[in-house]
Symmetry: C2
Subunit: 351 residues, 2 copies
């Protein structure tokens, strides 16, 4: 089994830097666009055979070191009774803005509300047969609240920020419910076979450090604690948060995933050696010529060369129009680390 991804999560020696790509099953793949011509996004997510087919597509093209289940962070909100559509961005039937609405949210078990996700994880594990590990995931409570309160994706997510200052107790109540639901949801995925989980905090970077602990980080910590007994590595991806790194590292997660804003050597110095790092090539860098992609990817890799625990990835999801040749250049840059590591630290590969 290819376990270099799981080993890197635990800061153990690896034969080369592992690579996976956020949104690796996505619109930049012609075969994904073909699949989507036949089936809408929600049906794709909710049909285990189709979700698994999408999850496997990038692995057929590229020697990636992890597979991630095809889904969306908002989907498990159905366990709270939230209804939504995607066109292509998410739109909730109704924003959640009052204490009454928060109190009215349901708390159904994920196994009942979104059983198809567990089925898909099980099927994906079987199909992969140990070739790569499977990553499960969920949204972080503040990020989910940002969508729930806004009712859709919107630059700045003003509605949740307004609630934070105007009705902090209401927001706290919402975050508590989301934390319970996401803990249950990750436990379901792990029980079904997920070998690592990632918590996506796409919008925590909208908060100053004074608000981050209370409205974002403590709830992430509760989720990490709530799955700790299951023994799988946890990745905490926090986007747009160069001002929060010293705090974010205290989430308890094994891996801190970073957007492209902070160079990895700077991040490593700030967070210390006790946590693995994931990232962080700018997704837009893949629009450069292949030779420049190689150079930019090598730059990211070199910034933490020799530091135990690096998982190569983009700093955000891969973009729809990304050229396939760029992904190939990224893959080649990562494969070159096998030679580099063999040359500079021969003992690291065999211990």
């Amino acid at each position: 089994m290819n376990d270099r991804f799981l080993r890197a999560c635990r800061r153990q020696p690896v034969d080369r830097t592992p690579l996976w790509i956020m949104r690796q099953a996505g619109r930049y793949l012609p075969e994904y666009r073909e699949l989507r011509r036949k089936v809408d996004f929600l049906t794709l997510c909710k049909t285990p055979e189709l979700a698994v087919a999408a999850s496997l597509q990038p692995l057929r093209r590229f020697p990636l070191d992890a597979s991630i289940i095809f889904s969306d962070i908002l989907l498990p909100l159905e366990a709270l009774g939230v209804r939504m559509t995607f066109n292509p961005g998410p739109k909730l039937a109704e924003p959640v803005r009052t204490r009454v609405q928060v109190d009215a949210l349901e708390s159904r078990p994920a196994a009942e509300a979104v059983p198809f996700v567990a089925d898909a994880v099980r099927l994906l594990r079987r199909e992969l047969d140990g070739r790569t590990p499977v990553i499960g995931f969920c949204g972080a409570p503040f990020t989910l609240a940002a969508y729930l309160v806004q009712g859709e994706g919107k630059e700045g997510f003003g509605a949740v920020k307004t609630m934070l200052f105007r009705e902090p107790a209401t927001l706290g109540h919402l975050l508590e419910k989301l934390t319970a639901a996401m803990t249950d949801y990750l436990r379901l995925q792990i029980a079904a076979g997920a070998q690592a989980v990632q918590i996506f905090d796409s919008w925590a970077g909208l908060l100053a450090p004074m608000q981050y602990e209370r409205f974002a980080l403590r709830w992430v910590r509760a989720i990490v604690d709530g799955v700790a007994d299951l023994g799988v590595p946890v990745i905490y991806f926090v986007n747009g948060a160069p001002h929060l790194l010293e705090d974010a590292v205290t989430s308890g997660a094994d891996v801190l995933g970073l957007c492209w804003r902070t160079p990895l050597d700077v991040a490593a110095a700030r967070v210390g050696p006790g946590i693995a790092l994931q990232g962080n090539l700018d997704p837009h860098a893949l629009f450069a010529e292949p030779a420049e992609v190689t150079r930019l990817a090598a730059d990211v890799l070199s910034r933490v060369a020799g530091r135990p625990g690096h998982i190569m990835n983009l700093g955000h999801g891969i973009l729809p129009d990304t050229p396939i040749a760029s992904v190939e250049a990224l893959v080649a840059a990562v494969q070159a680390t096998a030679r580099r590591d063999a040359a500079t630290a021969p003992s690291a590969c065999t211990t």
Copy 2:
């Protein structure tokens, strides 16, 4: 004349911390909404008497320490031949995405393309009669390019990021043209009477440090250099850029304006004593109860109490639905610094 704003820009002693508010003439004021019922946004900007009337509105309500001319950062792009509408966000007639389009941009003098801005500055100076200084402003080249290449405001401004990696020379050429136009535009405003100028870099925070110098900062530095002989303080406002502060401080500007993400004491430690700081209360904090607004504003003020050169402001433009009572609480918090400074550093007020 009330010169505490200008003195703070130069890190000279002041009797209390000066305050102005980004977008202080805006939709949170009933009298502004009344004005806008009679006249559309572009007409308001382009009619000096109306622009001045809008600029004066917040000063009638609040004892603010600076006035800023009512306009929009995209307006002087008309000097490059760019046409746009506002509804309410900006929309360009055509995005600028190719080298041919960049080469075709005009370079008319601002005095010819947007003479109404200079007229408005002159009229505002006359109306104020020394009561508060007048601030002129422009957009920073990268931020203007973000709008020009995208064609509108859009989260992430993917189009300019794609151009940056795919056609860096084309983007460089565009930035060079924008730099020349904005230098000319600021010189026009200063010649008309602007006593300080602010350069708004709302989107430079989308760049990693590796790209920031080449595609944003060097052009800001060129503008700062290009108006240096005129002797007015320059404020460089860079939004969402906690990862860029050590670089941003080298722009040559007298004042660094910050969004709410970085606490001012942290920022002060990172940028050193040689530059004044402006900001940085979260605009959403004004949705809290007045007592909480007072507490949050006092917290911002206390983080740089005793450090020469602080201009109180929000970390971004004031929001349309902001309660007037919150602005009053903010004003009161700033006025309380007169007592604090008198108590703790009596000599500072008289030197």
